[in-house]
């Protein structure tokens, strides 16, 4: 399997709203903690190292 880079969330605005909502009222530090947990949860859900490696590379794209 390779990383899906085309739209895959049926209702993107709903997701985005919930993502921002999740962080509402949190300090930067708390938000970072939530983001870390989110990454770990989603990574485990995907559970496929090659796909995760692609995601890591795409996420870092543009930084040296």
């Amino acid at each position: 399997m390779s990383l899906i880079l085309t739209p895959n969330i049926p209702t993107p605005d709903d997701f985005y709203e919930k993502l921002i909502e999740t962080h509402r009222g949190l300090t930067d530090e708390q938000s970072r903690d939530v983001n870390c947990k989110l990454v770990l949860l989603l990574a485990n859900h995907i559970g496929d190292l090659p796909v995760l490696e692609q995601a890591l590379a795409v996420a870092r794209d543009g930084y040296e």
């Binding site: 970072r32 870390c36 947990k37 949860l41």
Partner: protein, 542 residues
Amino acid sequence: MLQTYSYPEFPYVQPPEQASGQLVRKTAVVVGAGPIGLTTALDFASRGIPVVVLDDNNTVSIGSRAVCYAKRPLEVWDRLGCADRMVDKGVSWKIGKVFRDEEQVYQFDLLPEADHKYPAFINLQQYYLEEYLLDRAKDFGDLIDIRWKNKVVSLKNNADHVRLSIETPDGIYDMEADWMVACDGAKSDIRSMIGAEFTGQFFQDRFLIADVVMKADFPAERWFWFNPPFHRNQSVLLHMEADNVWRIDFQLGWDCDPDEEKKPEKVIPRLKAMLGEDAEFELEWVSVYQFACRRMKSFRFGRLFFAGDAAHQVSPFGARGANTGVQDSDNLGWKLKLVIDGLAPDSLLDSYNAERIYAADDNLKNSTRSTDFISPKSPVSKAFRDAVLDLANRHSFARPLVNSGRLSSPTPYAVSPLNTPDSDSFAGKMLPGTNCADAPVRVNGADGWLLNQLGDGFTALYFSADGSVPADLAALAGAPVPVKTIVVGGGLEDVKGLVTERYDGTPGTVYLIRPDQHVAARFRHFDAARFSAALNTALGKN
């Protein structure tokens, strides 16, 4: 500080060559009488190679340093005839628990499989280990010549021998060695003498290591805390040793003064915070370490080899230092013997480099990963670490990510030039290059263990339907490089069926096992040509 152990002081005797002024060429010289130098000397002597051991000191390891020894080194020491004493004195354990704050987040069992002769781990102070190795060395008489207060001060590495200058209380004398093994520890003088690099990383963190004498009712388990209430924002490790001694490691961070931290007035309050105000204990040994993970580029320089900490150094999380060093010795002895006897080409010795560098890299990788988890290097690394620990409390998925040290296990020589890759199909964990699994057996009516049946040389492990052995296989016992056959279903009774299970030994199956108890090749049916080709491969003849 309280001494539960009295350090022996070994006598210095002026070396005969120094007294006579003669330059003598020795077969093998080992520099360093630490765990690895002593194991190397025992292995050499057990194979009939006479060996001189030079050590600049005259006692065993001051302070314990290493505490945890894994099953595989115990099997090696058993082959060398000294493991049982270690197990008897040591504390056997297999359960590890990881705590965060007040709660346990994770527990692991290191030996989920029963029916192995040796436990997953024992804890034993390094000075006892060295004492027992030294006692065993005495059994070899003149084959092992240990010289205390003999410090190697310079060296010339020639094509066909090494020339050493050695300093003793009586001055300096020279010696030549056909072969030499540098086991002189992480600060190796020998390494500097040949100008070899030792590269890797130092971690920006310090650890207080205390051996504490106390009567306590902690179980014989490895307990690791992240951020415990008694030592906030750092980690702590607790281990039971022999003689009511407990090993406690406190992570200190980078901004501390190592000399201050060693003082009892600093150490005791830390221990009281952990053990309670009223706890009765005495300090036995205290030290502060900064850990590093690094190795030499090559472990072989012609006739000079490096082994143990001199060749590779790891942070102690995972107890990989001495444990892997012993496997260096295990790997080198039989190869050197065959080359000395003219039965294998010099290239066999290059496989020491290939196999042990492969193992060192595995250890370095694991130790580095553990250290990165325990001492996160950046704020985001720490944020991920804390997120893992938080999640692990509630969700099992995160528990395998918790890394308080991945404990030493032997690295299979998966890509060794000595392996013959499988051409038949096999189930199970044994592969060419793995060390042999143990299992209970019965031989001549007596209960025993499979590993003890393997010879000092090559062994064929043959699974027979009716007890018979192919004549060509049996005849290999008389070959120039003899192969001893042991027969499952013949002389060797597979009492619990575990040899058959662990080796996927259907009738007719044959394994070629190296003198260091690693699988070289295996076939579903014995074929003399294929088997000899595999033996040649294992002798480095390809």
